[in-house]
């Protein structure tokens, strides 16, 4: 599904990713762990197509297409979803309205029929319930005045509604207490499917107790320095990143 080959990325003239190779198949969940400043978030932004992240070398193919050739919204419509570490506030725009605009924009881009208000409302309620997202939350402006847990739940709701083929979760555990973390992880696990790939980016092993990955990569100083199974995460928990040529985390 996703093939990253020798990816080099600079930000403000500074090289952050220094040759990443990553191959993720449908149905797989890959965790990317690493200390602060190792390039984890840069990788997620490059995949989403954010401005200011310049690819100097390498390629990214997504479902056989050149991902780097597509605009941000085209990537989204093609099935790339990024759950933000810090979801943005959009004052005055209700969560409901935002979700509808996003879903219909993607459907339109794919040449599918747009959902009318009634069908949309039914769908969104169905998706919101297991995530404990109330009607009241849906009527409030997106992320405005949301607690940390509410923001992350709203991110998972968006993912659930937009049904991406590749979901990138950037530090989804940050700022969550254990109960909120469980709810979010349950939501994510419910979305695991043989057609969907996931990249879970995290600093701590804690999240991976709940979202158990198939493969774990250690990213350090812009390179993947080790790849292993889920047990690798536990190893890191004990020994830290110091053994991987990184500055102390």
């Amino acid at each position: 599904m996703l093939e990253i080959k020798n990816l080099h990325v600079t930000v403000d003239g500074k090289e952050i990713l220094k040759g990443i190779d990553l191959d993720i198949g449908a149905g797989e969940v890959h965790a990317i762990m690493g200390p602060n400043g190792s390039g984890k978030s840069t990788l997620s932004y490059v995949l989403a197509g954010r401005d200011g992240y310049e690819v100097t070398k390498g390629s990214v193919r997504f479902k056989g297409k050149d991902l780097l050739d597509m605009s941000v919204d085209e990537r989204a419509a093609a099935g790339v979803f990024l759950a933000f570490q810090y979801p943005l506030e959009i004052p005055g725009v209700t969560t409901m309205n935002f979700l509808k605009t996003a879903l219909n924009a993607q459907r339109k881009a794919r040449g599918e029929e747009e959902l009318d208000a009634v069908r949309f409302l039914k769908l969104v309620r169905e998706k919101a319930k297991p995530l404990n997202v109330t009607d009241d939350m849906l009527k409030r402006a997106l992320n405005v005045g949301y607690s940390g847990g509410e923001k992350k739940r709203a991110e998972v709701l968006q993912m659930s509604l937009l049904e991406p083929s590749l979901a990138v979760l950037d530090e989804t555990d940050s700022g969550l207490d254990i109960d909120a973390l469980k709810t979010v992880a349950e939501g994510v696990n419910a979305l695991r499917s043989p057609e969907r790939a996931m990249i879970v980016i995290t600093h701590y092993q804690r999240l991976l107790d709940y979202i158990v990955p198939d493969v774990v990569h250690v990213l350090s100083n812009g390179r993947i320095v080790k790849t292993g199974g889920k047990e690798l995460a536990h190893e890191l928990e004990k020994s830290g990143y110091a053994g991987y040529g990184a500055d102390a985390a």
Partner: protein, 482 residues
């Protein structure tokens, strides 16, 4: 190109020039320029009574002694008021026969706005044929109003049929001596709407110039007068979301509202005149005086405006809160893009006791435009227990535009409680990226964020107007990013 011309004629001129087709129209014009004779000519054409001619002439003489105001934050080349026609009426044959004759760009905009075909025809001034049944719509609406005793007609008709009302109220809110443009309007106004709601009547429908658009071609010096008698209510919608494409042109209208005891007037405007082209050429100069007088106790006047068009906007819909316990409201969205210049705001003049006012202004600047909020809250000596709340929010898109807030607050009574809040923000790259990552295109994302920013004001608009206004917000910001 003369800066001042009759709207209709200029539209045709512009079409002829820009889009290559030719509409041969006959029209009756006053001689070029503005003299006492021009004023007499206009008054004679309209068969006006002597008192109104005198009223006009008095205004004209005053106008000669006035000079253009220069305090607004707008710049434009000097207007030659003598190089213009102040009266030009197209003859009947000038009506367009079908939509094929209408500027295709205009139609494109209608389409984006989702205005149905029948309405498109009415807006474009095309004679609507019976197939679309609009004639009956207009008739039904006239009957309904007549039943309620509501008078809603062109100003010239009101002068003929209801002279006592016109004489009593015309100029009673905006006197002929008020300001340069209002005085000019008083001398040469050619058309406009007149509304009278009798005592205790709740107007059975929203009144709109839209319904009248085909009856009388509105000139650019229109004069609107709305009187809500004791205990009555009316909601009036002005303008439509249709752009009138024309060359540089002066629009100097006057709107007067009078609310008597316990009466309420809600006046909504969506203004989308031609803002000029990409290089800032052309566009309407909009110098408008709008004022409401809460003359009676417990009366209320509410202005809601969505301003997206015009090259220059100079407009301050105001409330004189004369009656005790009266209330004034001003809700405004002013969007400027390209080279547009907006200097707009409101005045709340608190004269009566326990009067209150609320101002919510949302200014959005994009492109190379300049957007100024200018407002006055004034509390007079005898006005006890006045309350005012003002909120001015500015949103900037890009780094070549500017936003300015100029609030004046004067109080001569220590019991007044006045609040003023102001914010300035930019649409952040982060917000745009977030929206686009969800699949929303860049322009749609800007429209979404801006509509969110304007929500408090959009909610004040009548339902069907609000939907159009939301779409309009998107359209006016096209090309503002990227």
């Amino acid at each position: 190109m003369a800066a001042v011309k009759e709207t209709v004629e200029t539209v045709r001129e512009a079409e002829k020039y820009k889009y290559g087709f030719f509409t041969d129209i006959e029209s009756e014009k006053a001689p070029l320029g503005l003299t006492e004779d021009t004023v007499r000519f206009i008054s004679a054409k309209k068969n006006e009574p002597a008192w109104l001619l005198e009223w006009r002439l008095d205004a004209f003489r005053r106008w000669l002694t006035l000079s253009e105001p220069t305090w607004a934050k707008v710049t434009y080349p000097p207007i030659d008021f003598q190089d213009a026609y102040y009266y030009s009426a197209p003859k009947q044959s000038a009506k367009l026969e079908s939509l094929d004759e209408v500027d295709p760009k205009l139609l494109e905009t209608y389409e984006k706005l989702g205005i149905p075909l029948t309405e498109q025809k009415m807006l474009a001034g095309v004679a609507v044929d019976a197939v679309f049944d609009s004639v009956s719509v207009v008739t039904t609406f006239k009957e309904k109003l007549a039943e309620a005793g509501v008078i809603f007609c062109p100003m010239s008709e009101a002068v003929k049929n209801h002279p006592e009302l016109v004489k009593k109220y015309l100029g009673s809110v905006v006197p002929t001596s008020d300001n340069f443009y209002a005085t000019l309007n008083s001398a040469v106004f050619s058309e406009g709407s007149f509304v009278y709601i009798p005592e205790g009547v709740r107007c059975p429908m929203e009144l709109s110039t839209y319904f009248r658009i085909n009856e009388a071609q509105t000139g650019q010096f229109e004069r609107t007068l709305i009187i809500a008698d004791k205990g009555s209510y009316v909601s009036y919608l002005e303008g439509c979301t249709a752009p009138q494409r024309d060359e540089n042109q002066l629009h100097a209208a006057v709107v007067e509202l009078v609310a008597l005891e316990d009466a309420e007037i809600k006046y909504s405007t969506v203004q989308n005149w031609f803002p000029g082209d990409e290089d800032g050429k052309g566009g309407v100069y909009n110098f408008v005086t709008k004022r409401g007088d809460c003359r009676g106790k417990n009366s209320k006047i509410s202005w809601t405006q969505v301003e997206t068009g015009s090259a220059i906007t100079w407009k301050y819909p105001s409330c004189i809160l004369r009656g005790d316990n009266s209330r004034g409201e001003f809700y405004s969205i002013a969007i400027s893009n390209g080279h547009q210049q907006v200097d707009s705001g409101t005045k709340m003049i608190h004269l009566g006791r326990n009067t209150s006012s609320r101002i919510i202004s949302k200014g959005i600047s994009a492109g190379q435009s300049s957007n100024t909020y200018r407002g006055l809250v004034s509390v007079h000596r005898k006005a006890e227990n006045v309350r005012n709340f003002t909120q001015c929010d500015s949103l900037l898109i890009g780094d070549r535009c500017s936003a300015h807030t100029v609030p004046y607050i004067e109080t001569k009574n220590p019991t007044a409680v006045l609040e003023h809040e102001a914010t300035t923000s930019k649409i952040s790259e982060d917000q745009l990226f977030y929206c686009m990552q969800r699949g929303i295109g860049e322009e749609e994302a800007v429209a979404l964020i801006v509509n969110g920013f304007c929500r408090d004001v959009l909610q004040q608009l009548p339902m069907e107007f609000a939907v159009e206004a939301q779409k309009l917000v998107g359209i006016s910001l096209e090309g503002s990013v990227g």
